[in-house]
């Protein structure tokens, strides 16, 4: 069963007090390695910030509208994602809980991936 972990982080993500940005990088590197070692990784990427986002929306009269910025303006922004192959929701929630984003006030939305047969 595949789950997508949508990783949201506070827009100006500050590392927790007492930690260097380098510690945060290391946390991500070791999380990424753990995912790879567990043999569960289907896909996963970090995204550039919302300032680089462009949204294309159907206008209802032919050509879609293109606007600068993310789909929704929120305090927390989509910073990256993983798609993991796991046996059940509990294991997906466990991997989400270990994600370094949760240590900086971020949140991980877990969504099961539809499997067409």
């Amino acid at each position: 069963m595949k789950y997508m972990l949508l990783i949201y982080v506070p827009e100006a993500s500050e590392p927790p007090a007492g930690t260097e940005p380098r510690d945060m990088n290391e946390a991500w590197i070791s999380y990424d390695k753990a995912v790879a070692d567990a043999g569960i990784r289907v896909a996963g990427d970090a995204l550039h910030g919302p300032a680089t986002a462009t949204t294309v929306r159907g206008s209802g009269n032919g050509s879609p509208d293109t606007t600068d910025g993310p789909f929704a303006e929120t305090r927390e922004v989509l910073g990256g994602y993983y798609v993991l192959d796991l046996p059940d929701l509990d294991s997906a929630l466990e991997w989400a809980g270990r994600c370094p984003a949760t240590a900086v006030g971020g949140a991980v939305e877990v969504r099961p991936v539809v499997e067409f047969r």
Binding site: M1, P87, D88, L89, D90, S91, L93, V110, P112, R117
Partner: protein, 407 residues
């Protein structure tokens, strides 16, 4: 006869979900098997092993059902394989040859990924064996609304694959409180609303006690499970003395303690001892100990208030909340006099959760009344009346206000 099946249904359902990994299929064939039993048993007699009979019948129906629907069968086969892969653990102790798998079902129904109200509804339906209309009536919700709530929760269990497993020892401290909260919620709902106008209303307090007994049988060494069962028994023991003939509320001070249920109190007291020994004490154990002290006292005057204050101190440390602070202030008033209690209550005036809770002005009103500060007491009673939700408590507060104005 239907009542006999209520508990049997939960066990049957749990075994079937364990076997097939699919709650919908399990519910369907469990109902089929019980219907078959209702037809055959009165005619042919009850079989030697009723549980085994039901399980065999239900399994046969499930196999028939899966033969008819290939696509469904494929999906269920995957669920079965996954269930075995993630959880090869030994089943719980069998007493009639069929392992009791209900603990898994508890953790599925009370999974934190499901909305709170659905957790309660699913638990009552799958483990207490209530029908959807019964659950709806118990919570004063339209049956269609409740049915939809249950369908949505079951869909999430299926699509997100909420597992059917007992959390490991490392996860249990995180997950067990959620299950206990659901059972206690069922109890408090039944307790607060047991004098409702609807005579058909299911006795939720009894259902909660039944659920806690099942949990206690399955997890006899978990102190908080023991504590929760003890707490509910010790509170439920006072049910007959708690309301007058007209459904009016009677406070602890004025209850006829001869009408308390001695059997439940004895059972509860034995459980409290176990809930408080062997490891760190939890909030249900402490609340049960407080309830036990009330139940043991001959009257309010001889109640062991110093011990009750000490237990509230402990509760405030392990599970702090404004309501605990409120109850502690009331207990201090009983130990040291109303003035001492009032000081503590006034310090809670800015608590957001107490500002809209009728118990806060009601408790203040009582202490002000005992201090002879009649005008202020009247004001506090009026404030409590603005906030109170149910009729018996409203009538009680109105009567107190009246006797204050016309002594």
């Amino acid at each position: 006869m239907e009542a006999v099946f209520r508990e049997e249904r939960g066990r049957l359902l749990a075994s079937l979900v364990r076997r097939f990994g699919d709650l919908d299929l399990a519910e369907e064939v469990a109902s089929d098997a019980i219907e078959a039993a209702l037809v055959h048993w009165p005619a042919d007699g009850v079989p030697d092993k009723p549980g085994a009979w039901l399980l065999t019948t239900a399994r046969r129906r499930a196999v028939d059902r899966l033969r008819r629907d290939r696509a469904y069968a494929e999906r269920v086969a995957i669920l079965q394989a996954e269930a075995d892969r993630t959880d090869p653990g030994a089943p719980d102790e069998p007493d009639d040859g069929i392992p009791d798998e209900r603990l898994r079902l508890f953790f599925t129904c009370c999974h934190p990924a499901l909305p709170g109200e659905s957790q309660v509804a699913l638990t009552l339906r799958c483990l207490a064996g209530l029908t959807t209309p019964e659950v709806a009536r118990a919570f004063l919700v339209e049956p269609a609304t409740m049915a939809q709530r249950i369908v949505r929760a079951k869909r999430k269990i299926r699509d997100a694959r909420v597992p059917f497993r007992v959390p490991g020892p490392d996860e249990l401290p995180d997950r067990l409180p959620g299950v206990l909260r659901v059972v206690y919620l069922v109890f408090t709902e039944g307790y607060a609303a047991s004098e409702g106008p609807d005579l058909l209303r299911v006795d939720l307090a009894l259902e909660a006690i039944r659920l806690a007994r099942i949990l206690h049988r399955l997890l006899p060494r978990e102190q908080e499970v023991t504590g929760l069962l003890a707490l509910m028994l010790l509170v439920h023991a006072r049910r007959h003395a708690r309301t007058g003939p007209d459904g009016d509320l009677i406070l602890l001070d004025d209850q006829d303690r001869g009408r308390w249920d001695r059997g439940l109190i004895e059972e509860g007291r034995e459980l409290v001892v176990r809930a408080l020994t062997g490891g760190p004490v939890g909030p249900y154990g402490v609340q049960a100990a407080i309830a036990a002290l009330h139940d043991e006292a001959a009257d309010v005057a001889t109640t062991d208030w110093p011990q009750i204050v000490a237990l509230y101190d402990l509760l405030a440390r392990i599970a702090p909340s404004p309501l605990v602070a409120l109850n502690r202030a009331v207990a201090v008033a009983m130990r040291d006099g109303p003035a001492a209690g009032l000081v503590l209550l006034d310090a809670l005036a800015d608590e957001p959760r107490l500002r809209t809770h009728h118990l806060y002005p009601a408790a203040r009103a009582d202490l002000l009344r005992r201090l002879g500060r009649t005008a202020e007491a009247g004001q506090a009673y009026r404030r409590a009346l603005e906030l109170v939700g149910n009729d018996p408590e409203r009538r009680f507060l109105t009567a107190r206000l009246d006797s204050l104005l016309h002594p």
